[in-house]
């Protein structure tokens, strides 16, 4: 028999292809699942899908091993041992749901705040958030707070969208591409596809990252920046562009608040706010007459510099003058930032020149007329072909919000937002703050919350504080003085605050797909202690934990009640425009998952379980007037739920006959239409609306027609961010509410309304001589989160992780490949194996993220390398900053958004004097596995041998 003559061949006619959406990371590619009968045989990319256009990454191709993982939970579990041991008994669903409904019902009628409901890598946040709102707890969020909220919030506040789900580089037209600190799953395949296009066209790629792996390995130029200094590099580029006059003044006048007048009245309570008329319309000065005019007046030619007298006698200056003065300051000169960033002054100056050359000398013109929101007709679309992409590497710092703002400022000064060759918004974005909700808190027994939990505060008046003006309403202290613009909540603070009963204790911790007892928490060992800690009465400090997961993760061992979820091939889902959409710049897209295989275990999709619980709790919207469940399951909800009349989770095939897109009545046949179309809907944006969506009449009309917005939304890019200035005024005591004394200096310093840079907080809390190095993690391309370790194929690629150490440090510390080293931070120590690497910033150690596992988890043998030699850097990162001696708990987070500052970590490394023992430390005691250990061999059909 030849290699080619084997029997099970997809090419035979017994194979059926079922098209759904991948869930091996957050990228959400379309997949063709090849079936032999009811057995999954092969998964490949869907060529028609807008995200991946046929390609598929290593994770997606290994999906078959995730689906047939031995770590899959089989039945609801009730804890029988101690928390963390992993000892459970299997129970029936009815018992599990009655138990959960009992706990949740009591909390709802006593004090709904005592439920903390947080979902991790949830792709159904519009549904889980809606459920939490109906329940009435203020304590809901997903994982954005420890992921990339700095990026998302900075983008929304500045221009109505950020990177990834909000927009993408114009890969087909850009002439220069710069990528900062990107984790592989943000936006996995599209970035690789885009880089491939740039390489084919010979377009220069500049990678900014402390580590030269992955995308940076193929970058034509690599800037091995020192962690936490990206903002300084960007502001220095801005300095160079302003110094040399290489900015797009026309673009700034048309689309930004650069001409708006800022009140110059140092002693007044309006100092630094925009000058406005009685209706709140910002004012500008006519540059010819000097007269004050409305910024909205068509035809006004606003001044960009100078001082003007307002009708009330106060002085005011245009934003642009403040901006130009700030960034022209020598503190941002390349020579001044070179030492701190680790990038030479010559390089910074040269790259500024290359950026300017691409933007202005290689201008792109598309001969396509369009009309702006002021009614002016433009004969053509002019592009500044410089594109950027950035993600967690710049945002997971305590200065990440301002850094992300700085990057958007750079893009806007170049005129490269939503123009040919620049960055392009993806529908439904742009959606500026004016089109976003405010946060909602408050909590009354047996009552729904008044509005969505998460939103975008316009100023201190939107904070969620108790009557004392200081105490946070939420358990994670989101939207408090700790983190005023925490648009995604602070999931990383929930367990720590609940354990400290600060601001209050909780009764039930309810989590979904969030491995908080392991890699999704800072300070993993302490978090495990908090979850198991008991009070003086012998009761757990966090009394009840309900957890839903498809697999036997580390967090499962700490749950009192486990609700087993399905795999991604067994479930309904919608990747909704109400949530985290998958559109492309020229198409409005959403998609579904559907059970291409039925579960062979007693498990249920979490969202269906949530609806069941909602009906048992008789939550508004989930039961009818007779108290009967409105939705049979999640699929029923996806089709029939309406957020507003005509607007539901899915945009495609609406209306009774499926002919409407965006707006339309529910269509009972909708899911079938999605399945027939390959699992997704794609509707193309009209050509006239392809660019300049922030100011494009054709886009606005189309967006309204398709239900993306209810009316025209003004989107003037906010170079100067007034809400931040309001917080400064509050800190100065000039407007109310006034923050407590201990917050004031930090707010005055960090809430600069113009993008700024300050050292990461950890730098201030540690001495350079004690912790001279930085340490960061990267997500490998072939592994996502902790899920990958149960995957028989992926764990052969990343079964353990070493700590990569710059060559000079290896030499200084006498470290050779394979040696064991002790790495310490102010909060802990790990023992790890080292490997020398030179393609890395000289002050930075790094490792792969989430490879280390607790023994006994994920159905792995207790001697699995993930547990014996793998490790988490998390043990070194505290959710709190080192004590400052003021007796307060200061979060290790961005002070503006609360984003977890993972990458601020500072460490020291030394050779372990005791090289015996092939184990990484700390090692948590093994957890018992409720699903046993995986088999020796894996058959491709999932049949264990």
């Amino acid at each position: 028999m030849n290699q080619i003559d084997r029997t099970h061949d997809t090419t035979d006619s017994a194979t059926e292809i079922r098209q759904t959406t991948c869930y091996m990371c957050a990228c959400r590619c379309g997949i063709n699942v090849h079936m032999k009968g009811e057995t999954v045989q092969y998964i490949e990319g869907n060529r028609d899908h807008p995200i991946n256009k046929g390609v598929l990454c290593a994770k997606g191709s290994a999906g078959i091993m995730q689906h047939y993982s031995p770590a899959r939970l089989k039945k609801p579990l009730l804890r029988t041992g101690k928390r963390g041991e992993g000892k459970f008994k299997e129970i029936e669903w009815d018992e599990a749901l009655e138990l959960a409904a009992g706990w949740l019902g009591k909390v709802r009628s006593d004090d709904p705040r005592k439920l903390a409901f947080f979902t991790g890598r949830d792709q159904s946040q519009s549904m889980t958030g809606w459920w939490a709102q109906a329940y009435g707890t203020p304590n809901y969020a997903a994982h954005g707070g420890f992921c990339s909220v700095n990026m998302a919030a900075a983008g929304i506040y500045t221009m109505g969208g950020a990177f990834w789900e909000f927009g993408a580089p114009d890969w087909d037209h850009t002439e220069l591409f710069m990528i900062f600190g990107v984790a592989e799953d943000h936006d996995s395949n599209p970035i690789k596809m885009g880089l491939g296009k740039l390489k084919a066209r010979g377009v220069k790629v500049i990678g900014v990252n402390p580590v030269r792996t992955g995308y940076n390995a193929i970058a034509d130029e690599w800037l091995g920046i020192t962690p936490g200094t990206d903002g300084l590099l960007i502001l220095s580029l801005i300095h160079e562009l302003i110094r040399s006059g290489q900015i797009d003044i026309d673009y700034l006048i048309r689309y930004t608040n650069a001409p708006w007048l800022v009140i110059d009245d140092p002693d007044g309570d309006g100092h630094g706010l925009f000058a406005r008329d009685d209706d709140g319309v910002p004012l500008v000065a006519d540059r010819l007459s000097g007269e004050i005019a409305l910024s909205s007046s068509p035809g006004v030619k606003p001044a960009m510099k100078g001082s003007f007298t307002l009708p009330d006698g106060r002085s005011a200056v245009p934003v642009f003058e403040l901006l130009a003065k700030k960034y022209a300051d020598p503190q941002y000169a390349p020579a001044a930032v070179a030492g701190r960033t680790g990038i030479s002054a010559d390089t910074i100056a040269r790259i500024a020149g290359e950026i300017a050359e691409a933007a202005f000398k290689r201008e792109i013109v598309i001969e396509r007329p369009w009309t702006d929101m002021k009614g002016e007709r433009h004969a053509r679309m002019i592009g500044r072909p410089v594109a950027f992409h950035a993600m967690r590497g710049i945002s997971a710092h305590s200065n990440g919000f301002q850094t992300a703002r700085a990057l958007h400022l750079l893009q806007i000064l170049l005129g490269s937002i939503d123009c040919p060759g620049g960055f392009r918004f993806k529908p439904p974005y742009p959606r500026p703050v004016a089109g976003q909700p405010r946060p909602h808190g408050g909590a009354c027994a047996d009552t729904a919350l008044a509005g969505p939990h998460l939103g975008y505060p316009r100023g201190p008046e939107d904070l969620l504080l108790e009557a004392d003006g200081e105490t946070a309403q939420r358990i994670d202290k989101a939207f408090s003085w700790d983190a005023p613009l925490s648009a995604h909540g602070l999931m990383h603070m929930v367990i720590s605050n609940a354990h400290a009963r600060d601001p209050y204790g909780i009764d039930v911790l309810f989590m979904y797909m969030a491995n908080m007892a392991w890699n999704s928490s800072m300070n993993t060992t302490s978090v495990m202690d908090m979850l198991t800690d008991k009070d003086d009465n012998g009761d757990y400090v966090i009394p009840r934990i309900i957890y839903s997961d498809a697999y036997s993760s580390e967090m499962v061992a700490f749950a009192d009640l486990v609700l087993p979820d399905t795999t991604y091939l067994e479930r309904h889902d919608c990747i909704s425009l109400l949530d985290r959409p998958i559109s492309e710049p020229e198409a409005l897209c959403d998609s579904i998952r559907w059970p291409v295989v039925e579960p062979d275990r007693d498990v249920r999709g979490f969202q269906s379980v949530l609806l069941d619980l909602g009906a048992r709790l008789k939550l508004p919207g989930m039961v009818d007037d007779d108290g009967k469940a409105v939705y049979k399951d999640y699929a029923d909800y996806i089709v029939n739920h309406q957020r507003k009349p005509g607007i539901g989770p899915l945009s495609g095939w609406r209306g009774p006959d499926g002919t409407k897109t965006g707006r339309g009545e529910p269509n009972p046949d909708q899911l079938r239409r999605y399945i027939e179309n390959g699992g997704f809907s794609q509707v193309h944006v009209p050509e006239e609306a392809h660019y300049f969506k922030h100011a494009n009449r054709a886009w606005s009309d189309w967006a309204i027609e398709h239900g993306l917005q209810d009316g025209p939304v003004e989107n003037i890019f906010q170079l100067y961010l007034e809400p931040l200035r309001k917080f400064q005024l509050a800190a100065e005591g000039k407007i109310k509410p006034v923050p407590p004394e201990h917050h004031r200096d930090r707010i005055k310093r960090c809430f600069d309304p113009l993008p700024t840079w300050y050292p990461p907080f950890m730098d201030e809390g540690v001495e350079d001589v004690v912790y001279p190095l930085h340490a960061i993690t990267q997500r490998p391309a072939a592994m996502y989160h902790s899920w990958g370790s149960q995957n028989a194929w992926l764990r052969q690629i990343h079964g353990e992780n070493a700590l990569y150490v710059p060559g000079a440090i290896c030499e200084h510390e006498n470290l050779n490949d394979g040696d064991w080293a002790l790495v310490t931070s102010p909060s802990g120590e790990v023992r790890v194996q080292v490997r020398r690497m030179d393609a890395v910033n000289g002050e930075t150690l790094w490792t792969w993220n989430a490879i280390g596992k607790r023994a006994g988890a994920w159905a792995l043998d207790k001697n699995a390398p993930e547990a014996t030699r793998g490790f988490l850097l998390n043990h070194l990162i505290d959710e709190l900053l080192p004590p400052k001696g003021d007796g307060r708990r200061w979060a290790n987070s961005d002070p503006i958004t609360g984003q977890a500052a993972w990458f601020d970590l500072r460490v020291a490394i030394r050779r372990d004097p005791d090289q015996s023992g092939e184990r990484s430390l700390p090692a948590a005691p093994p957890q018992a596995s409720p699903v046993g250990t995986g088999p020796d061999q894996v058959a491709f059909t999932g049949e264990e041998t």
């Binding site: 390609v55 031995p70 193929i218 690599w222 390398p865 020796d936 491709f940």
Partner: protein
Amino acid sequence: MTSLPAPSEKRLGLVIDLDTCVGCHACAVNCKEWNTGAGASPLGDVDAYGGNPSGAWLNRIHTFEVTPADAPAQIVHFPKSCLHCDDAPCVTVCPTGASHKRAEDGIVLVTEDLCIGCGLCAWACPYGAREMDPVENVIKKCTLCVDRIYSETLPEEDRIPACVRTCPSNARHFGDFNDPGSDVSILVAERGGIDLMPEMGTRPVNKYLPPRPKTGPKTRQQTAPANPSAADMPNAEGGFLGWLDAALEKLG
């Protein structure tokens, strides 16, 4: 020992672009999946969830660090699979005829029923591109997805190797090197495609496109145009605000 056929009319193989490969392992895993779940030759794994998992892979990604004297250190990702050599030592060394090179297209294959698992071919291959299946104890290797490229049931556009179809960055290309007009021949000509270890005399069919030269921090290509100096900023005559006036005037 097994003989090689006369030169074939077609020489099918891969071009792998080392300037574009980000080392994501997509090709390796999709290859494993196709061959295990759907395709020709199931690739076994042992100790799959244990302390020392290992399995057969027909394509593996190696990562090298290069430290040039005059430029920053650099990472090169290097996907490696059978190169379907014209002078394939793995074929001539085979005692049973299991290892053979096809006369029609040059693809090197193993007839598993004839393979006695002696491993001589793996020793003979200078690239380490053959693997012993730990479950079946026979040699496995890249088939160039011969079950895909000649398939009559797959859609025409999918009649390419799985690794090529799945590669997200388009770093892998498939075609006939004997056809000067094929994509692979053109890429090799334009980008200076190279043989891997030519000194071994294997005359591999697959070619690698070398990484393009990188910009180092010391190469000064351009500088920002020296308009006004920072010292002039922002209030002097001329200077940045002078430039601003001129720019505004131009806007009218």
